[in-house]
């Protein structure tokens, strides 16, 4: 009964306090719920994206002597299979062709055959470039080596058997050659095998006819593989679970076929890489998500505590009247329960409303235990904020002391121990330690299953955040408590002639104001750091996509079908802002075949962006200038510099294919610099040279690629280009949006937009709550003081001076300190997470609009709080009676 009475009284007379506490809990719960929902959705989409990018899930090599049909049956039983086809491989001693009066010969190669329906079920494995798909197909590079086209004849040097001659029907690209020709059964830590340079694809029956004898004579030179695609819809949505499921099934297959087959689990490997991406996502979640959650919890505690003085006085009155500690705690618990439950309900409801979970995962997601934990945390938070102070006061503070606010309390322990400076020093130390390792936070070496995360790196930003917050409290406390000149300067615009008395009044409320400034600064800092990091990340993601795609729209051709042949038609397109050709050749550096890009250094930047970070030791403009001034200049990779011990200006001979005699000839270049990245270039070593020089030395000025800048939407330009080039299927048109989508194995694949959208939205809410809500609750607790001012004759502008002065101190202190801290934190995060960016950013990207909106909302929330503090006409007398 008593509790109900108490509750009714609290709801009737202290409703703003209950509402404020509920709002604080709601913000925390909503943020955490949104994060849980996002992570669930992101995990699901990550698995789906990774799975769709794998051309062949399993490659099962049948060991000589085993029954292929039995292996096929075992595959079908090991996992739900959507498609399974056979592929035959045969080693060849080489290929030979007569072209232009000369005989071209290659080194060893592979002759493969795909069974019926293979291309339909595995379309990503083989792409027709020219000619017909019916018949013998030659790989693009092999065609270049042999100088053959559709209709030409090629002699296959079989092993242990006479050569046979076939007629080429078409030229193909094998995009997934690395996987197609992988050596199945090698240990995981073995070095990756390079795919063969020379490949022919024969019709199934022709292969049988030509290579069955070789299989009998030299069974070690032929192989049969089953290529299988699993039923992806049956996979768990969580990448970690999916990985376990797939690898488990693969091991099951290995067990079933022990001694008869070897399994290459491409899907499992891919999911292992996604698992690493998930690890990166959790790393970023720790960096970005956890601070948001911590801020929300701190804000909730601060908001619910802002009515603490009044509650303390009420509880002191109860103690005077004989209430036991148990009774006081019970009454506090009632108020806490109402606030917490209301906050949890509203917070979760809002989160679910703004983050809809798509069916059929909805119910599974809603049953996620993490959501229950979030609800429990909200409950715990609400109770802690009410009960802890009550318990502490009941045990440690006398009734007399509880009835009075102690505005002359000594400095808190952390200040006397200089904890803020110690934490900042610690942040510097841990940051320096991370810097000394080159900021390698996540280690996932290629070919090694194990990964590691340097969790110590998180300590630096965590210490920075806490240390900066405490420093803000120290500095703002000093400014306010000592009634400094700076305080009066800040107050003068709103307090005018009342500045001395207003500043004197504020100086005795420094503890409350300091907490308000610190909470606002914390929220603004979090918002600013998240927004700057997000903007920088998005900017670099676009740079990465541009690096991959080359430009807004890129047409990828070959030496036989160069995209540059259509330059005029492409330039005429209305949406094309700039069109530039670029050579893409191959050159031997020693025995290593590398991609060679021939450019016009004076014009290339019209169609693509070259960042200083792409080049070592110099700016992009400097490199291009050097290349323009050195016709035979070449940029090489760092690895090439190391391998050949190159010095600036050294001559390096590259073997290029001459179009006149179709032979590789050495061509002298001069080493002028190192290129780390280049548009469309692979991660491996590559070369960049002057297109004019390459054309002169090779007798071919063909430009295999064309880079295009769009006036507007790149996708629209890509559609126009595809329309113009519809008759040339060998030319591949790609726009930057596709590249962004396809960047799959690096961190840019992880969609942080969802996480940062949640955080940026809540950051603004929390910044407004920290400033306005806490201010409003503080005003509500001190309504009587403002009523006294009104009663003794303060005019409305004079009352406004008092309340606006508080608001202004919160705004100025919170925003200035918050923006400084946020920028510093963002800089540190970008440095620590350098591995996330590819390439690393040269500078922070600042989202001015978002920051302006946030500042505006903070000011608006303070204005609303100030307005709420004004005594209502006619209620002054009532508020004066309010004890």
């Amino acid at each position: 009964m008593m509790m109900l009475l108490w509750l009714r009284g609290v709801l009737t007379r202290r409703f703003p306090r209950v509402l404020g506490a509920a709002a604080g809990v709601a913000v925390t719960v909503a943020l955490l719920t949104s994060m849980v929902l996002f992570l669930a959705n992101a995990s699901a989409s990550m698995t789906a994206r990774a799975v769709s990018a794998v051309p062949v899930d399993w490659q099962v090599q049948v060991i000589s002597g085993a029954d292929p049909e039995a292996i096929g049956k075992a595959i079908a039983e090991a996992a739900p299979i959507k498609a399974a086809h056979r592929v035959r491989y045969a080693d060849a001693a080489g290929f030979e062709a007569l072209a232009g009066g000369t005989t071209q010969t290659t080194g060893p190669g592979q002759v493969i055959a795909l069974d019926e329906g293979y291309s339909k079920d595995f379309p990503a494995e083989i792409r027709l470039l020219s000619g017909s798909a019916d018949g013998v197909l030659v790989a693009q590079q092999t065609a270049a080596n042999l100088h053959v086209r559709p209709g030409d004849k090629v002699s296959i040097k079989r092993i242990g058997l006479p050569a046979v001659e076939v007629t080429i029907a078409g030229v193909v690209d094998l995009p997934d050659a690395d996987s197609l020709f992988q050596a199945v059964g090698l240990p995981a830590q073995a070095a990756p095998q390079a795919p063969p340079d020379n490949v022919l694809v024969l019709p199934w029956r022709d292969w049988q006819q030509l290579f069955s004898p070789q299989a009998q004579q030299r069974p070690d030179t032929v192989r049969l593989q089953w290529h299988a695609r699993l039923a992806h819809k049956a996979l768990p949505s969580d990448p970690v679970q999916a990985h376990l499921s797939v690898t488990g099934a693969a091991r099951n297959l290995e067990a079933r076929t022990a001694g008869q087959a070897l399994v290459a689990d491409n899907l499992g490997s891919r999911l292992a890489a996604v698992r690493e991406d998930a690890l990166y996502a959790s790393v970023l979640f720790l960096f970005l998500g956890l601070p948001g959650a911590a801020l929300a919890i701190a804000l909730t505690y601060a908001v619910t505590s802002s009515g603490g003085q009044r509650r303390r006085m009420e509880q002191a009155l109860l103690r005077v009247r004989g209430a036991t500690t148990r009774t006081i705690l019970s009454l506090s618990a009632v108020e806490a329960a109402v606030s917490a439950i209301a906050g949890i309900a509203f917070g979760m409801g809002a989160a679910l409303f703004f983050n809809p979970v798509s069916a059929p995962d909805r119910y599974a997601t809603l049953r996620d235990p993490a959501l229950l934990l979030v609800a429990l945390l909200g409950l715990l938070l609400g109770f802690a904020a009410f009960l802890l102070p009550a318990w502490r006061d009941a045990h440690w503070i006398t009734v007399g002391a509880a009835q009075h606010a102690d505005s002359r309390a000594r400095a808190p322990l952390w200040q006397r121990l200089w904890l803020d400076l110690l934490l900042l020093a610690g942040a510097g130390l841990f940051f320096w330690l991370s810097a000394s390792t080159g900021y390698k936070i996540v280690l996932a070496p290629e070919g090694v299953a194990a990964t590691s995360v340097d969790y110590k790196a998180f300590i630096a930003p965590a210490l920075l955040w806490v240390g900066m917050t405490l420093l803000v409290m120290r500095l703002s406390g000093m400014m306010i408590a000592h009634n400094s000149g700076l305080l009066r300067v800040i107050l003068t615009p709103v307090a005018g002639p009342l500045t001395p008395i207003v500043s004197a009044a504020l100086s005795r409320q420094s503890e409350r104001l300091t907490i308000g400034i610190a909470m606002t600064a914390l929220a603004v800092s979090f918002a600013a750091s998240t927004a700057i990091f997000n903007a920088t990340y998005n900017a670099q993601a676009r740079v990465d996509a541009e690096l991959t795609n080359g430009s807004d729209v890129t047409i990828f051709g070959t030496s036989d079908v160069p995209a540059g042949a259509h330059l005029a038609a492409l330039t005429a397109l209305t949406d094309a802002l700039a069109v530039e050709p670029m050579q893409h050749r191959f050159a031997y550096v020693g025995a290593d075949l590398q991609d060679l890009y021939g450019i016009d250094p004076g014009r290339i930047e019209r169609a693509t962006t070259l960042s200083d970070a792409y080049f070592s030791g110099t700016s992009a403009a400097g490199v291009l200038g050097q290349l323009a001034a050195t016709p035979d200049g070449v940029l090489v990779s760092e690895e090439t510099v190391q391998d050949f011990q190159l010095q600036q200006g050294d001559t390096i001979n590259l073997r290029l294919l001459d179009a006149r005699d179709h032979q590789y000839h050495p061509v002298a270049f001069r080493f002028i610099g190192v290129a780390r990245e280049f548009p469309t270039a692979p991660k491996d070593s590559f070369l960049v040279a002057n297109a004019a020089y390459v054309a002169r030395m090779t007798g071919s000025d063909a430009s295999e690629y064309v880079l295009m800048r769009a006036k507007g939407n790149p996708a629209e330009l890509a559609r126009q280009v595809a329309s113009v080039l519809a008759l040339y299927p060998a030319l591949k048109v790609s726009d930057i949006g596709q590249a962004a989508h396809l960047i799959g194995s690096s961190l840019t694949a992880v969609d942080l937009r969802g996480l940062t959208r949640i955080e940026l939205g809540f950051s603004v809410l929390m910044a407004a709550a920290a400033a306005g809500l806490m201010l409003a609750l503080g005003f509500a607790e001190r309504r009587r003081a403002f009523a006294i001012l009104d009663a003794i004759g303060a005019r409305p502008p004079q009352l406004a001076a008092f309340v606006w002065s508080e608001g202004l101190v919160i705004i100025v202190g919170g925003l200035v300190f918050g923006l400084i801290s946020g920028t510093l934190t963002a800089w540190m995060l970008v440095k620590l997470l350098t591995g996330v960016f590819d390439p690393p950013p040269q500078a922070l990207s600042v989202p001015w609009l978002y920051l302006a909106i946030m500042l505006g909302l903070v000011v608006a929330s303070v204005a609303a709080a100030v307005r709420s503090a004004r005594p209502s006409p006619g209620l002054v007398a009532e508020q004066l009676r309010d004890l």
Binding site: S407, R795, G874, L880
Partner: protein
């Protein structure tokens, strides 16, 4: 007939849940009046005081201040008020609290000297740098009275100013108040349960259940 500072005609004040704190009260406060408002608790003394001071509006009847000026200028210039419950601004010192009306009225330079002089006259000069939370109830009320007098108002309304004082201190305090107001023409209306205070006032208003049942002797006669 002395000039009327405040005129209340048919004043009524109803609160929520049908509480009628005042009913048909006719009253007048003239310049230089000394009025003690007596009556049991809940009889409407504080409510009437608030209405006379312009802090509250009647729900019936009218109140005017012909001798003081327009409503917006009543406080702090012409009316000083001492409230029943502690009413010092918590974040200002005693001196700053007492001088606050002068600051609000646009005379910041004279606030501190005037405040200190008043505190000294009440024997409270040693409390100048203390905060309200460091004062006893009696000290707070005396400081509040000093604040009410600092602008030399024409009307002082005091609600139980000696309620938390012992008899000797109360007598000294009230003597000081009357002494300061002597010859100034300032009217003093005191709501009190203290018979010693009421006896020193020239006129007695008796309140009962929201009505002003008697005024004796009449102010003109006094």
């Amino acid at each position: 007939m002395s000039d009327a500072l405040v005129l209340g005609k048919g004043l009524g004040r109803d609160f929520r849940r049908g509480v009628a704190a005042l009913r048909d009260v006719h009253c007048r406060v003239v310049s230089g009046a000394r009025i003690a408002m007596v009556g049991p608790s809940g009889s409407g003394k504080t409510t009437l005081l608030h209405i006379l001071g312009g802090l509250d509006k009647p729900t019936a009847g009218t109140v005017e201040w012909p001798g003081l000026g327009p409503f917006d200028e009543l406080r702090p210039r012409w009316i000083g008020i001492v409230f029943q419950s502690p009413s010092l601004f918590p974040a200002l010192t005693v001196v700053q609290n007492v001088g606050l009306p002068l600051v609000l009225a646009g005379h910041p330079a004279s606030a501190e000297p005037a405040a200190k002089a008043l505190l000294a006259s009440f024997g409270l000069d040693e409390l100048g740098d203390k905060l309200p939370e460091e004062l006893s109830g009696g000290q707070s009320q005396r400081v509040a009275m000093a604040r009410a007098l600092v602008m030399k108002p024409k009307l002082v309304l005091a609600d139980e100013p000696t309620g938390q004082l012992d008899s000797i201190t109360a007598q000294f305090f009230f003597d000081t108040v009357l002494e300061r107001l002597e010859g100034t023409g300032t009217a003093l209306v005191v709501a009190t349960h203290d018979e010693a205070v009421a006896a020193r006032m020239a006129t007695r208003w008796t309140m009962d259940h929201g009505r002003l049942v008697s005024e004796w002797p009449r102010q003109d006669a006094a």
